[in-house]
Subunit: 214 residues, 2 copies
Amino acid sequence: MAENLQEQMYQRLREGLLAGRFEPGEALKLRDLAARWGTSPMPVRGALQRLVAEGALEGEPQRSVRVPVITAERLIQLYQVRLSLEGMAAEEGARRLDAAGREQLHACTERMAAALARRDAQGYLYDNSQFHLTLYRASGNPVLLRLIESLWLQAGPLFNRLFRETDLSLFNDFHQHCLDALDQGDPAAARQAIEQDLLHFRSILLGLFEEAVE
Amino acid sequence: MAENLQEQMYQRLREGLLAGRFEPGEALKLRDLAARWGTSPMPVRGALQRLVAEGALEGEPQRSVRVPVITAERLIQLYQVRLSLEGMAAEEGARRLDAAGREQLHACTERMAAALARRDAQGYLYDNSQFHLTLYRASGNPVLLRLIESLWLQAGPLFNRLFRETDLSLFNDFHQHCLDALDQGDPAAARQAIEQDLLHFRSILLGLFEEAVE
DNA sequence: TTGACAGCCCTGTGATCACAAAACAATGAT
DNA sequence: ATCATTGTTTTGTGATCACAGGGCTGTCAA
């Protein structure tokens, strides 16, 4: 098992959040979660407060912690920052990525193609995140990495809707462009490919909002 | 007073951290702080964990929380991200800032000049932060703002050295350039001014490291 | 004199309890 | 019927206690 209970609770909540298992607007109550996981409310409290501090949940002082409801406006704001941060991480990562890292990225894209073929959105998204993460990690900037992960967590609650409502054919593949750029040693092109990928994803997510308005 | 104790503890710790009242590498111990502020260890624990989650303190699982020691490498990484994020916030803020906001910025620069004249580094830095904050706030992007504040907190422990060791004549003033750009309605120029300001600050801080090596 | 080991103390963690404020529901008046 | 108000329940917060793991020190052997 892990070191301490609070860390376990945090991981479970984070995982559930990224998988979109919590409804936006849902109130996460201490004693409920504690009872469900068989612990005292104490470690759950810590885990929730940590997620609030990271911006993944929102909680006013004396009230229950809630899963944030993402508006289209907030989604745009989120992606404005993601574009800047992940663009930088991609460019810097492209400069420093070694052969082993490139191999990992190739493996990821192959698995993504396979997942796409078998219409497995969840698998696709998982390897997608792995692809981005390993590239960004190569940038060697932990400050940057922490912020990016924080942003991913904030977008998490939207992904459950992707699983259900999205046509898989919408998933385009800018990762191949990125790989080509990496093999040619062109960091600027790698950055551009990543930014294109993010923009494409953003438009898909924004599309979900327009459907919801109807 | 405030709503709950944990929030008060958090504000006190944050303030002390930004003012550089804690030594880098210093271990912050629950019962010590609790006794000093006259509370139980519980709210202090929450406040410390929150600061760890925000990256302002570092704490391994079962060990005491410590004030991070900033290396030159980490400083460079920090400023790489600050440059990108605050540049974006400045440009967007410049686009949306209204007349009242511009008035506040003018007041800030006047106070900064006054502080400089009376050799008050602390006062200068305070109004400096206010200047940046009001400009960034005008960007209307809370996601961005949260990340920037998180980065400021990470650089906090360095500022106490500025108070003591730095020649005030080193403080240059790129804020006037920024104001000019704002009055002319030129967001790109405003961004450039802010970036110049950050780079200048960065070189001052890096200078402190070279002294320390001797 | 120096190295290792054992003991104690210090420190973070988790559980239980007591409390206050907020959310909810039932009851009453208009 | 609708809204305000009051009483009850729920829910987060803080304190105290019990526990376990790490670190430090003193002692003993080589």
